[in-house]
């Protein structure tokens, strides 16, 4: 699932992600079905009904996953006739970069909380 480019051109992680975008991306990635859908679309485009069948789900259930992935920019959909086709992108996500950013933010947030906790329990943490 990790994508990076080794040849000419911009590195995959060149775009900037703010904290809200990272939250949306990681929420989208936190579900195993949605990660499966990304892997599946990495092999070939598919319609929502093909995806639903492949993951043994209802159309409604798969639509929900697709919407979340689309909102995160991880996939794009296009209506062709009566069928909605799903493709990877437009976000060329460099997961390592996003993950490092996210980890950094979480670590900072945790240390903030630890500081507040120590402040609150000055003298005796129990």
């Amino acid at each position: 699932m990790v994508q990076y480019q080794s040849s000419a051109g911009e590195p995959a992680g060149a775009e900037r992600l703010d904290a809200d975008e990272l939250d949306i991306i990681f929420a989208a990635l936190s579900d195993p079905t949605r990660r499966g859908v990304l892997e599946r679309l990495g092999r070939a485009d598919a319609s929502i009904s093909e995806l639903a069948a492949g993951f043994d789900m209802t159309l409604t259930g798969m639509r929900k996953h697709v919407r979340i992935l689309e909102r995160a920019g991880l996939i794009a959909t296009e209506k062709v006739g009566r069928v909605r086709r799903c493709t990877l992108g437009p976000r060329r996500l460099d997961l390592e970069t996003a993950w490092m950013n996210r980890h950094q933010q979480s670590l900072e947030a945790r240390l903030d909380r630890l500081g507040a906790f120590l402040e609150r329990t000055k003298g005796d943490p129990t």
Binding site: R16, S30, L114, F117, L118
Partner: protein
């Protein structure tokens, strides 16, 4: 990021020792023993690790090879984190692996040291080491430029999140 409760002790400095590492330093107004306990006792960990979200400390075996697993609850969803302890030296050092359920296999090694810089003041330094695909694939040469850009990218994000 929202409010910063620990502002008075928030003298954190950040660094990128290499393109695979992130370093965070923070000085707390608390003796090292207290900081150690807050990080190793389950009922204390549950009070801050979840960043304000409810946290289940499922396992916390603070010893070499011991397993830890926390589940953070927010907006009806749950995020699991876990790892193993590689080194535990009370009250000064913990080396542990860190994995998020959402990215299985992306293991980070967190190396944390606690130093008493003055009586009742403790500096916590965390160095997070990432195992990048570039290294695994031996692509150091072609990955150099991208790696450098990535470092600046992370630095930007870090500076933004601090500012």
């Amino acid at each position: 990021m929202t409010s910063r409760p620990g502002d008075q002790s928030r003298t954190s400095t950040l660094g990128l020792p290499s393109d695979r590492e992130i370093r965070v330093e923070r000085v707390f107004d608390a003796p090292r023993e207290h900081v150690w306990r807050a990080m190793t006792e389950p009922d204390l960990v549950a009070q801050w690790w979840g960043r304000g979200n409810r946290l289940d400390v499922v396992r916390l075996e603070v010893e070499r090879g011991g397993h830890w697993r926390f589940v953070e609850h927010h907006d009806g969803a749950a995020d699991g984190f876990e790892g193993r302890f590689r080194e535990v030296t009370p009250p000064e050092r913990i080396v542990q692996t860190f994995e998020w359920d959402g990215m299985p296999g992306h293991v980070i090694v967190n190396d944390m040291t606690l130093e008493e810089v003055a009586p009742g003041r403790t500096r916590v330094t965390v160095v997070s080491l990432f195992h990048t695909p570039e290294e695994r694939d031996g692509m150091l040469q072609s990955g150099m430029k991208a790696g450098l850009d990535r470092s600046y990218e992370v630095l930007d994000a870090v500076l933004r999140s601090v500012g």
